[in-house]
Subunit: 316 residues, 3 copies
């Protein structure tokens, strides 16, 4: 509750522009389109405008995919990087330092901080004492707003639009942060409908459904992959995350629930795409990789570009 007040007060102080990036909801349509156009441009033209600036990647749990994406984005813009890969075990946090105290240090070490933490709300706590922009790169069961941004930028690049979308999300919709953040982001756009495909134990939670209702999004739920993907523009596959289960037997029972095979890919609409936040551990068969619909490996490229656009905007 206190945390929520903190977040609100931070966001309120930001006016219409961006300061800290804490959750997908804070982006409005105008900012998103500006970021995407900027990302498009950054692919075509070298830009070293962040020369002399420093990004601090403060990761309390490892996430090589996200960390290296931000680091590469910063280097491509001419900036420098300082990083800690596993601050939980290796830094002052192990000695009991709060994230606010750590942020007070980072304030003076860098020009922008990217924070990954295992506890929901951690990035917001850091932002509450930050003098430099803070980017939430995943806070436990909370959000990962730049993942949502790169997902949406993938749609923009591959389908040429971000309205009028039928998205089928498949897998662990209860624990998965990616779908959650994507729904929040798509709340800003028109004619969005979702099909949620999951085992009953891993259904999307009520707060997301409520949010969708408030923002004019339609959704249906099913346990059938075949039924779900039939009319999709985007099939968004996710991993059943072993690390979120307390009962190993339940994980073993559910992990193979949905495997997207080539026959599924081929049955999808012409021009539709298959996405995945990665890593995958079997949800998409290897035979799908050669399908033109498989856009999950191209997402890595889009992630660099959209993070470059974001860093440039935050540090301009």
């Amino acid at each position: 509750m206190l945390l929520w007040v903190t977040v609100l007060s931070i966001l309120r102080n930001m006016g219409s522009d961006l300061n800290h990036i804490l959750e997908a909801q804070q982006f409005d349509r105008k900012i998103i389109e500006e970021l995407f156009k900027s990302a498009d441009k950054l692919e075509k033209k070298k830009d070293h405008s962040l020369k002399g600036k420093i990004l601090a990647a403060i990761f309390y749990e490892p996430s090589t995919r996200t960390r290296l994406s931000f680091e590469s984005a910063m280097l491509r813009l001419g900036g420098g990087v300082i990083a800690t890969e596993n601050a939980k075990d290796y830094s002052s946090a192990a000695k009991g330092e709060t994230i606010e105290d750590t942020m007070q240090m980072v304030n003076h070490y860098a020009d922008v901080a990217v924070i990954r933490h295992y506890e929901k709300g951690s990035a917001a706590k850091a932002a509450s004492v930050a003098k430099i922009p803070v980017i939430n790169a995943g806070d436990g069961a909370g959000q990962h707003p730049t993942q949502a941004l790169l997902d949406l930028y993938t749609v923009w690049r591959e389908l040429g639009r971000v309205d009028n979308l039928r998205i089928t999300a498949v897998g662990d919709l209860k624990n998965g942060r990616a779908v959650r953040s994507l729904v929040y982001l798509l709340g800003k756009f028109k004619k969005i409908s979702f099909v949620f495909v999951s085992p009953v134990e891993l259904k999307i939670e009520a707060d997301i459904k409520e949010y969708m209702g408030k923002h004019g999004m339609i959704f249906t739920e099913t346990t059938s992959l075949e039924a779900g993907i039939k009319d999709a523009d985007v099939v968004y596959m996710t991993r059943i995350q072993k690390e979120r289960f307390t009962n190993p037997a339940e994980y073993e029972r559910l992990k193979g629930s949905y495997v997207l095979a080539r026959v599924h890919a081929d049955s999808m609409k012409k021009g539709a795409i298959i996405m995945h936040p990665l890593p995958r551990v079997g949800e998409i068969a290897l035979e799908v990789d050669s399908s033109p619909k498989a856009s999950y490996f191209r997402q890595a490229k889009y992630g660099i570009l959209v993070r470059m656009a974001l860093l440039k905007r935050l540090l301009k």
Copy 2:
């Protein structure tokens, strides 16, 4: 004994200028003032004079605060960084390589080496075979000379002087490296007096007292925080370091010995400051953070600046 001879022979070969930075005693007043004036300048004016140079951060135990401070300093000067965060477990040291052999490698990989090690005397061992400047960034129960330098630079910036100081050091004065190194450094200055506040089990050791006597410094000892801080120009709080205790029960008994509250801060002289090498784990109440006397978060900024000045001088 052999080690001490090594250190002496290294220092003797250095003439009046700096080469390796191994212990606080080696700085003289002239060099310190030059470094501080250089640090003052570096805050105001961009300086990329270390472009093309490489700093190697070789950390045998993690210390994110120190490592990232050096890395940020090097990047701000236009240089590059190579680093290992936990060489004890991850590098050739795990296979039994000596620090001298590791240094023979670093000689060719970088232009300056920053070494953190869990054993006293390690940086001096590395320096004995070094062809590039070596900076001791903490060697077990030994020293951490750039911490002392940044502490003194904090005093220079916040109080405007480095002579005529009354410093109250609070906490684990037996095991704490920071106070030890600060005393050594202040031996070069005039009219310095210390008040040592600690539980009887964690009193400052005899060698420090002897050093103070030889260098004209006055000190008193007390177990009372209130008595200690009354007339201080600087209150230097330190953490009771869990990792130095072999008996957990003793740590538990002593850890909460001194907590500096807002009422203490307000009772201090006008213009006095509160410092801490950080991380803190409760020795300073959060309510103190908003006091203008709280300079412990500003120390991070001073640390970058004074390390920039040092790197620039070593690599000029």
Copy 3:
């Protein structure tokens, strides 16, 4: 078998030029000499031609010596670096991601990938989906081709020739990757003879002997260090690698088999050199370090130069 076909098809597609660096055999004499001449030049003249390029160091097991060498080489050429030090435990690999999927990400994050892995064939697997050059920096019991390249460049620099060499390799010749890769590389040169000195349990394997026969190299085997080093141009010492033994008692029995002392060094031919891939754990006595024949610490310098030449060529 499948792997071998993969490697062959990758190499075949490369024509006469370099693309991926997977094994020592792929270098021909012409390329090696070009690389060595380029390395010679890079020592004398600053070259920032890789400005704006990014090297990704993806290490599934730590190897500080190799990782920092590549990172330093890239920085000296003006490029940038992103890295993961222990991908086995820290990255998506821990969640079950294949190296091919990881490479699909790295394709978009960097301009060249340096991969160290604990399993033979891993770099080749990554190369099979790579759009950027992949350098194998050690794949378990497989190869470490740039180690062989730096070893040979050491010979080139110290002896002034790479033909007509008598090389004595000492230690664990069964498990050691370095000697293996060096033999493969020397197969391209003239009048090469080897003396293999090892305990009977750690003799060089049949495939290497067969390769030597096919490429006109002569070899003899002995268990006597004294006999082995008598007429050598190069004595190549190696460590008995504890981590390759399943039986600790056998390691204990064999580890001290050969210790090169000063008296050995002095008994070697005038102008002969002593090499070691390092780290050493006692195979070369400290008293040897001051001998002019001891070239093992200079190898670190040669490693940087030859990797710079290689990176420059791959990214030109």
